[in-house]
Each structure stands twice: as C-alpha cells, then as structure tokens.
Symmetry: C2
Subunit: 325 residues, 2 copies
Amino acid sequence: MPTIKDVALKAGVSATTVSRVLNNRGYLSEELKHKVHQAMEELNYRPNELARSLSRSKSNIIGLIIPHVSLPFFGELTSHIEEHAYREGYKLLLCNSWQDKQKEQEYIHMLRASRVDGIIMGSHTLEVEAYRQMNLPLVTFDRQISPDIPYVCSDNYEGGKLATTLLIQKGCRHLAHIGGHPKLNILSHLRCVAFEDMAKQHNLEYVTLHTDNNSFDFEAYEQLLGQLFAEHPEVDGIFAGSDIIAAYALKACRTRGRRVPEDVKIVGYDGIMLRSLLDPPITTIRQPMEAIGKLAVDLILQQVQGHSVAAAHILPVELEEGATT
Amino acid sequence: MPTIKDVALKAGVSATTVSRVLNNRGYLSEELKHKVHQAMEELNYRPNELARSLSRSKSNIIGLIIPHVSLPFFGELTSHIEEHAYREGYKLLLCNSWQDKQKEQEYIHMLRASRVDGIIMGSHTLEVEAYRQMNLPLVTFDRQISPDIPYVCSDNYEGGKLATTLLIQKGCRHLAHIGGHPKLNILSHLRCVAFEDMAKQHNLEYVTLHTDNNSFDFEAYEQLLGQLFAEHPEVDGIFAGSDIIAAYALKACRTRGRRVPEDVKIVGYDGIMLRSLLDPPITTIRQPMEAIGKLAVDLILQQVQGHSVAAAHILPVELEEGATT
DNA sequence: AGGCCATGCCGACCATTAAAGACGTTGCGC
DNA sequence: GCGCAACGTCTTTAATGGTCGGCATGGCCT
C-alpha cells in the first residue's frame, strides 16, 4: 500500500503538502493540486485511516452493541444505523452481546480501546455505574440509564395503550400480555404497564407473562404460550411484546384450533418487515425504526461535536391493523 | 484517556517496560508485572488500538460486506461471523451493500483505507477485476471469483438435488423453482441447475422463475408467485431458493385455497431459525451457517498469517423435513 | 570472569496532521 | 527610497500512542 510519502515523492512535494491537498487546508495552487491528485491516482493511494484517526484522535467509528443481529428487530435497526452512520462518514463496529453481562462489559472495553467515537447500546445488562464510567458519547435504546445519558425509544406506553384499547374495542374480555423483559428499567416494560392500566380501567381480567431470563429465547416463547393456553383457556385477546412473540401466538392458536381473529385476537409490537410473510398479516404497533436509527446516530454525532443533548427521545408509534384483530 | 506514559509514570517505570508487560516480552519480574498491572487498573488504562494497529501494520479488523443484515439468512451468518471473529481477537466492520454496485465499490475502498486485515464478501455485484485488484485477504460467500480467491458455500447442487428429489418422491409431477439470482457466477444458481437436471431426469414438466434484478425484494417474490399460479395452475411442487421465498409460497398457496402439503408441496433453502415461527413448519435444505461463518473467518486468518489456502470450500447441506412436504 | 536476569534509555518507525517557519515578492506609509 | 508587514506557497518540525531492537547498566550466581 502506498503511503503519503510515496505520493509526495512522485509529485515532487513534501508529505505535508500532500496532506494539505487531501484536507484542502491552507494555500494551494491549482497546479499543485493537480499534480498531487494525479500522483494519488497513479498510485491508487488511499490515506491510512488508522494514522489519520491516531493523529486526529478521532476514529470515525461508532460501536453498536445489541443482543443479537439475527433478531429481526435488531437486524433492521442495525441496517438503519449503519446506513445513516455511513452517510455521515462513520463506520460501524458490530457487537452481539447475547444479552450476556460479561460479553457486554468486554465489548465496552474493546470499543473504548478501539477509540470509537461513541457507542449505541441496544443491550443493557450492566449496572448504571458501568455505563457512566465509560466516559464516551453514548446513546441507549429502550433504557434510561441516568439523566445525563440520552436514550431513544418508541412511545412504549402509548403503544401498549393503543394495542390494548384495540383489543378491548374489538370485544376481547380476557386479555393476556406476553413480554420478554421483566426488568423495570427497560423502557419496553411500559408496554406492559399500559396494558395493565387499560385492562384495569375497563375492569377486565388480565394475565401477564414474561420470560424469566432476560433473553430472546424462541423456545421460551413457545413454552410460555403453552402455559398461557393451559392455565387460561378463556383468553381471547393477546398483546404480544414483539411481532416474533405475536407470530408464536398465532402459531399456538392454530395448533390448538383457536381461530384468529374470531376466537382470539392478537396484536404485536415493532412492525418488522418480515411480518409480511406471516399469514394472516398480524396487527402490530409499528416503531419508526428508521427514525430511531437515524436519531441514535445523530445523538452520537452531536455529542462528538461537543453539544449537549436532551436525555429523552420518545418517538411516536403507529397502529397498523392486519388481519389478527 | 490515559496513555502508556501515564501508566509508566504512575508505576515508576519506563514506557518501554509497560509495553513489555503489555506484550509479555523479555524478562519481567513478578513484582514489576504486579506494579504495572496495578497502575493500569487504577488509571483504567486500555492501550490505544489505533496506535498499536498503526505500529504493527495490523488492525485486527475484518470487514464484512453483505447485501443486508436484516435479511434473516445474512443476519444469522453475520452473527456467527462476528462471534468467531471476536473469539479470535478480531473486530467486525459491518457494511450493507444493498446489492448496489457503487456502494459495494465504495465499501471496498473504505475498508482498504481502514486497513482491515481481510474482507468477507457476501455481496458480489462487481466485475472480477475489481476484487482481484484489492490485494487483501479475501473470502467470498457463494461466488467463485477466480481460482486464487477462496470461497465458501453450501453444497448448492446437492441441496437442489435433495429438494427436488424429495418433491418427486412425494408425488409431485409439475415442478416449479423460484430463485433470486439469475446470474450464473453466483453459486446458489446451482440449486436451480440441480432442480432442472432432476426434473429432466424424471421427465417431469417444470418452470423456473427468477427476480430479474439482483435484489432481495419481498414484493417481487409475491408478484412472482402470483405469476406462477396464474400461468401454471397445475404446479404441485415448489422448490424455493430460500426459506423466505418458501414462506411467501406458503402464503400464496393459502391465499389461493391450495392446501399445503396436500395440493402443493414446498421445500425451502437455508434453514433460518425464524422458520420455526411459520406454521406449518417448512421443509428446508439446511446450510451449516455456523460452520460457514467460522470457516470464512478462519480462511481470512490463515491468509493473514501468510498461509495459502484452497479455493473451494463446499460444506454439506442437510434435508430437514417439516410439514410442507 | 562470565553468564543470566531485570530494567532503563534512546531512537527509529507506523502514516498522518497541526503549528510554525521560510522565502521571495508586493505594497504601503513616512 | 527605505523599512516592514502582508501575502501566497510550500517546507520543517513536532506530535499522536504505541512497538521494537539495540545497547547500556547493574546485581546476583557460579
């Protein structure tokens, strides 16, 4: 790989001058620019980003820690984040935490050592102190860590309210909610809170089920649904914490001969693209994933530029009716 | 962020000694090691990977270019690649090419500029020359670019054969294949070739449909299936080029009142985890994704270490029967 | 005395950037 | 018409944070 010196030699100027042409800094004659550009092309030169990063103390890399890219929601979110980051001249270092405390901590260390300019956290298993200590631009998704760390999330409460209200309005009298995260500091838990509030408000019976570990285990979902139908056969309305869970609910209904939406109505959450391959299409609360991804990147960039940013960033959700209600 | 000098000062030794402790080089007394480690901990010191990379001319970063992480197959593959890379001390820079020529080229430039140690390509829209020019450890997935660039793929022909044979054996007489990539140099096209070979061998009628652009457009799949059922209502066996396409096929059958598997049988390809949320579970040809991911990483590492590697790496597939056959 | 062990010090090196300096030409004020 | 600053253009030097090799310096052991 040619270096700046090779270019300098070929163009008959000093390395600094090449650097100045690269960055368009200071006084540069047209002739010189041309000469240098030509030399760069002939050598197929690309400036070494490692050296640039070291010199400028800025890597233009954003670290992304999520539970797992292969989860549809996080896959889509990652796509959007990557796209906006790239558009702004940033690269994305991907880390799958598997929702594991130790992995998450290791990744944080690794990203700090790599001098990433900021970290977007979609996985949060650690204690508050661990995040505050890292002393780096940070944005979390769906968790409020402390008043000075910005977070992005969808309007979880409103989403839960919309979903539950729809079920009630469509005539459901025995409601159930199945969610993934029982932890209170995870904002998605507000979906559950809203569900319970609505059910109480309408004096309806309701059940709430959660996976006990903080994971995204597909088998756990199947088990939970089995449990739900065994213990509460009267349930006629399910608000699922994600579209994936909704898909399992749909499958569980079909297996047990419950017709959807006639006998049981189902509402999901997220609005992942893949729901289009389910049949019937599920009703869901759509999160604005693209906006979330863009905002997460922007909040990192603003912090990088030294601006202070607001803590709460709650984006609106939208009810999208399919054929399961 | 503290530097090696800060650690040296705190421990009362020279920076060289700290570097020696870091890299376990030369003679080091236990006492010294302890002293230095303590200083590092107290300062929460992490060596600057940018500086190390620059100095060693090795970044320990692998670039991954794929069409899109949010496609389930690539999401899962990415997960495995990331996991194995991390286990070997490598980081992963993620690039979604959107199957776009220009983006792919830009990403290649960017990754070279970032001095990644190697590139895993799961997206290939460019001409052969573009790949050969990059002069970097490279591994491609599902495409043979040239005899000296190693590639990893599943046994596409065998997979196509297994799928088609199963359909025939189960009594299908009017076969159809729906695939995504009509390009011949993409190895997954062999699935289609095997399909046609088998159909001919058994003297059966068959249709082959492809999306015309080289994309993964979900709507195109739906359209294609509509076309298939309109023009060839007699079709009773579908070999889909992916599980996603199979899911759409399933949906299309249901919409049109064709029972699966009684009237139409369906076999997919890939074996993505998400197929477990489909109902009925689809029969599929499972690619060993974890092995593919691991191998791709290993092939990069071997090249990094200067070993020459074999070109072809074809991993076995497995037929997994669900309830769509 | 010679060999091993443990550390320090110096400088080159990686590729690039930032700040300051050099140098010939002009223009301006007095 | 002389001194001096400004100007445009490029170069020199130092810094970024770490690695690495060589060489020097002791102390301890045999």
